[in-house]
Subunit: 696 residues, 2 copies
């Protein structure tokens, strides 16, 4: 991966294409100055004309050593600019010019040509079609977005594949009092992609959380690697990814020329590494802000909320139930203490309605915080807080509440989060007064805060577990098994229980195999040329052993009549299995994410109800268990209305084996399906299976 | 219902309990003045002490005629205040004092006593525990909530069962530039409830939409009546109802002493009348604001969005797909025109990325608006718009966009909505500049706007249809049928196809009936004392006619052995039916909402998957169709993988009949279940049914 410090921490820059007619360069020059850039800012103009009231040079070679360039020349002049940079030894830059891959066709080819040449010359470029970046912690804002003055850092770094959206995200974060460490607008990612930048950011200790606005993930392997890195570093990644619907896929392709992959597979990748999905600009920033502020919490413990508004308590309770925020009831001793705090008013539930009485007596907040902090069950305490734009615009009750909360907190070791009831700007006064009292920044509104808290619990649980096993895609792939029998044998070699089968070539062999297997039997013709055996009369079920020879003759005759050209090698004899729960286990290759495994109940369950679970391969037994238990139909496996509970661990092991078999088949595999994996009280068993190779 | 104009449009008021130690009265007095109240404000103090720097009187009887009182005396003095009001002929008031039903037990009894007495005296009171109301259009703010100065009315009226939440809703609406007509904080609803106030508001022509924050609906019949009134008046009602989760039910009960009903039944009630549900404070206000502004649109048509940000287009497309906002593709002629607008940049999808080129050339907005307006497919055009706090803080590009949009709109007859990309305050400058150009107020952020637009389409479709049939609960109820046979006969009398059954009392009768019916038969014992017939061996299936006599004797003997005390009247003989799709149709009585009908597939489908549809009774055939088609399992009815499509209309008729039968059973009915309603290609047919009476 490219080393981006020379670019993102540049100590000297040049603006290529600077002229009084070029708004980009003027914006960048203003941004550098406003952002406090301390190094030299050079200007290059091909004609040597004055620009921005200053002298320019005609070529980068006329400059002293420079770390990075901002390139704002017409598309036709990009090539020359790159050659000039290389000649001057400038190794990094941002290209703001648009009109490349986002137009498709010729634009895409031009981009490949120009940026391929840059790579040959050792020049690493962000863009094209990039609005640049603001490194606010190092005061390097090489950005064509007009940015409000930086706030004190909240530890949130922002990366966006959409330039205009990056501006919106910055503005919204600013409104909410969330100071970003970085804001990067990637553009077309011809050389520097999302993962390069996120990796750089994760390595910066001032970055506590990464917020991403993404249209498409181009390199799934890299994304998994950075997601794992973030997990190990206990730095949350929150992603708002568009292109969930079909319509957006078309719009996104038009916008940046990027293909949008299958969202369910992306979700599976996120699930594996604890990457969180946000559903809106507001959600993305509020979530990243909260998680950067708290870091992982003790997710075995619960959340308690205090508000003087019963309505807020109800909203929080509903929202928390939906988002997965645990609100355990208070311990009896805590209820007694809280009962004393609110005397006769209200009741001591969690969320805790401290009642309007607190307006006149803010010390109640301190007492409530202490009581809840000493309960022992809580990993985080939330308080609904309103702070105005100034001291005058803030009610004395609110200020009293802030002071009392700080006093209460001094006596306990549970962190707090302060939540605004609805989404409104966080004023400088608000930030300052909370900081003065040693309190964290305001979060919210309540609706977004509850979702963010749900993710905090989810992520904190995930961080406490080991990362997923690394993908072990075998370099040399096993040969693809052809047909049902070979596929089942291959699966058996990977520890998957498969139904016993005998190959029989004659009536005599059929009868002998039948006698040996005993019980009711199934016979199927064995032919590499016939996929749908039932339809050609090539299957006989519930055959008693003594009738096996006749059945063999009947199915062969039928298949020969119906498919006179097929090579028929004989038949497979296997025992008839009792009824059970039929699962489908399918491995498919996603064009972006590689092999993914899906588990669902057979037939209508998967098709009508989309009741399936999906994970990237490989899966551990624990993950396979989680997949099974996440199905709506899980009660059919765990016992329902007196049906016996099946052995989930053995089913999970079979799923792991199917996944490993798929991995072993390597790059040649397109899909592998076991249908059904029949599960009875006795065991899971693959009754039929098929492997499909990749189109070459 | 009480006439509330004397209260909500009071022209003279008195504050009872006015004293310098009483913060409520000071707040109300300030609010009246700030709100522009033009009538007299009297003060009553039991000791006649000065208050708020003014003289007081000891009794209301010392005052001239007064329309309404604000009562802020201790709980123990409420009774005397009411007597005093009545003696003075003051017929209306608000009681802010708390400590009544919200405490349960004694508080509830005291409330009933005091407000019962008020009713006897002809005094109508809002509250207790009410923070009062602000009638902003008539400048009567009898409210204990400090309110920001009223904005120009946006036609949104607000009613809240939670006082503190009502303050938050007001503040949020103010932040978003949405001027309310009214804001009412109901408190405990001892005499004046949600429906009384909503009915009053619907009758005010200045009210275009009603936003409700509700904890519980106390009178379901009234709620249905006002919902129908709103539907006929084409005024949208948007409700944020808490108490969806189990936890909140407990909190709500503590908060206002209100029981929280079953949310699914409430949803069914909302569905019937086009009442919309909002999920947060932000959602409630943004939705009500949008719908008050647009009124019903032509929902047969689609929505088009224009933005200079491709990211915003993608967010809108994803959000719209989720929320049900139709984004039809542009007609070819429109695409040609839009292609000219953006020349070589981007592509002409809907949502339409007008590209950053528009910054330099705002006239592109006018051209795009005209092109889309003339397409003919669009009922509303949205534009992503950002306006700052002042002209200086607003980019020239934004102002150019506003002017160009206004020019474009002048040439077409499609309305527009202007959407902020994220949720931020709407400045006075923003409101003014848009109004000057004849443009509607800003909506959004985009995330909330897309949900609001989804509801706009949904509601506009609903408004175009007739209201539901009125409930026809029969005054005198039919006698409850006892047992399967009687219930099926009763259903048959209401047009439900039921399986033919013969009652047989002897072996001879059984054989004769069997011969007459013919084919494979089912026999079941007939006994009012045995509910589970299979478990006592009282059922024989697949019986050939010639074995019917023997089967009759066998099941009677078995039942007599197992249940020696049961009265056994004989058996039922009916034809065995072929396999089909088994539906369950159940009518249940919700304690709040009355009879509701649920339809789902039998067994596991309903139990594990919660795959059922619910409506309040009565249902029309069209609604019954919608219920069936809304099931996840609907493809099993409409044809799936080669299975035949079943006759949905006949199934819907059977459901209507079951609903009518339940209504006819009237007040004595607790539940009526048809299980199964077997559906085959031939017909739907109730195979078994049971009616359960209400516990007396």
């Amino acid at each position: 991966m490219p080393d981006l410090s020379r670019l993102l921490r540049a100590r000297s820059v040049t603006l290529i294409g600077a002229s009084d007619n070029n708004p980009w360069c003027a914006m960048v020059a203003r941004g550098l100055a406003a952002g406090g850039f301390e190094g030299p800012v050079h200007l290059v103009n091909a004609r040597g004309n004055q620009a921005l009231g200053r002298e320019t040079v005609r070529s980068c070679t006329d400059l002293p050593e420079v770390d990075a360039a901002f390139i704002a020349v017409p598309a036709a002049a990009i090539g020359a600019a790159i050659e000039d940079m290389a000649a001057a030894g400038i190794s990094h830059g941002v290209v703001v010019t648009s009109g490349f891959a986002e137009l498709g066709g010729e634009g895409k080819r031009a981009e490949e040509r120009l940026f391929g040449r840059a790579a040959e010359l050792g020049v690493t470029l962000m863009g094209p079609n990039s609005l640049g970046f603001a490194n606010l912690v190092d005061k390097v804002c090489l950005s064509a977005i007009p940015l409000r003055p930086a706030l004190p850092s909240s530890g949130v770094a922002l990366v966006s594949q959409s330039g205009a959206t990056s501006a919106m995200l910055y503005s919204f974060a600013h409104q909410q009092g969330i100071g970003l460490t970085h804001s990067v607008a990637l553009g077309n990612e011809a050389m520097i992609d999302l993962c390069d930048v996120v990796e750089f950011l994760l390595d910066d200790e001032r970055v506590k959380a990464v917020a991403i606005f993404a249209e498409s993930i181009r390199d799934a392997g890299r994304f998994r690697a950075i997601a794992e890195r973030a997990l190990k570093a206990r730095k949350p990644i929150v992603v708002q990814k568009v292109g969930v619907g079909e319509l957006t896929a078309a719009v996104a392709q038009a916008h940046t020329g990027a293909l949008v992959g299958d969202d369910r597979v992306f979700q599976a990748a996120c699930d594996a590494y604890g990457v969180m999905r946000a559903s809106s600009i507001e959600d993305l920033i509020v979530t990243a802000g909260l998680l950067a502020s708290t870091g992982p919490i003790d997710a075995e413990k619960g959340f308690a909320l205090i508000s003087a508004s019963g309505g807020a308590c109800e909203i929080a309770a509903d929202g928390g139930e939906l988002a997965g925020v645990p609100f355990p009831p208070f311990a009896d001793a805590t209820r007694d203490r809280l009962g004393e705090v609110i005397s006769a008013y209200g009741a001591t539930h969690n969320p805790f309605d401290i009642t309007g009485a607190v307006m006149a007596k803010p010390e109640m907040y301190a007492d409530a915080v202490r009581a809840i902090g000493m309960d022992g069950q809580f990993g985080l305490i939330g308080l609904i807080t309103e702070v105005g734009e100034s001291e005058a615009a803030t009610s004395p009750a609110s200020l009293g509440m802030i002071r009392a909360t700080a006093r209460g907190l001094a006596d306990i070791d549970v962190p707090v989060v302060l939540i605004q009831q609805y989404l409104k700007p966080v004023s400088e006064f608000g930030r300052t007064v909370l900081a003065e009292h040693g309190l964290p920044a305001l979060t919210g509104g309540l609706d977004h805060a509850m979702r963010a808290l749900g993710r905090l619990w989810h992520w904190s649980r995930r961080v406490a577990l080991p990362p997923p096993t690394a993908t072990t895609a075998t370099a040399s792939s096993a040969e693809l098994p052809r047909g049902e029998r070979a596929t089942l044998e291959f699966l058996s070699g990977h520890g998957v229980p498969v139904i016993p089968q005998r190959v029989v070539r004659t009536t005599h062999e059929a009868a002998a195999a039948a006698a040996e297997i005993g019980g009711s039997l199934a016979l199927k013709i064995l032919s590499p040329d016939i996929a749908h055996k039932t339809e050609v009369g090539g299957v006989a079920l519930h055959v008693p052993p003594e009738e096996a020879g006749a059945a063999f003759e009947r199915i062969l005759a039928s298949a020969r009549t119906k498919c006179p050209d097929a090579e028929i090698q004989g038949a497979l004899v296997s025992p008839m299995r009792e009824e059970g729960v039929d699962l489908i286990v399918g491995v498919v290759r996603d064009p972006v994410w590689g092999l993914a495994i899906a588990v669902g109940l057979g037939g209508i369950w998967v098709e009508l109800l989309k009741d399936s679970a999906l994970r990237l391969l490989p899966v551990s037994r624990g993950e396979a268990r989680d997949m099974l238990l996440s199905l709506k139909a899980a009660p059919l496996l765990t016992g329902y209305r007196g049906t016996p509970a099946l052995d989930i661990d053995r089913i999970a092991e079979a799923i792991v084996g199917i996944g490993n078999a798929a991995i072993a088949l390597g790059h040649g595999l397109e899909a592998l399906e076991v249908n059904p994996l029949r599960v009875t009280a006795a065991c899971p068993e693959a009754l039929d299976a098929l492997a499909v190779g990749r189109p070459s």
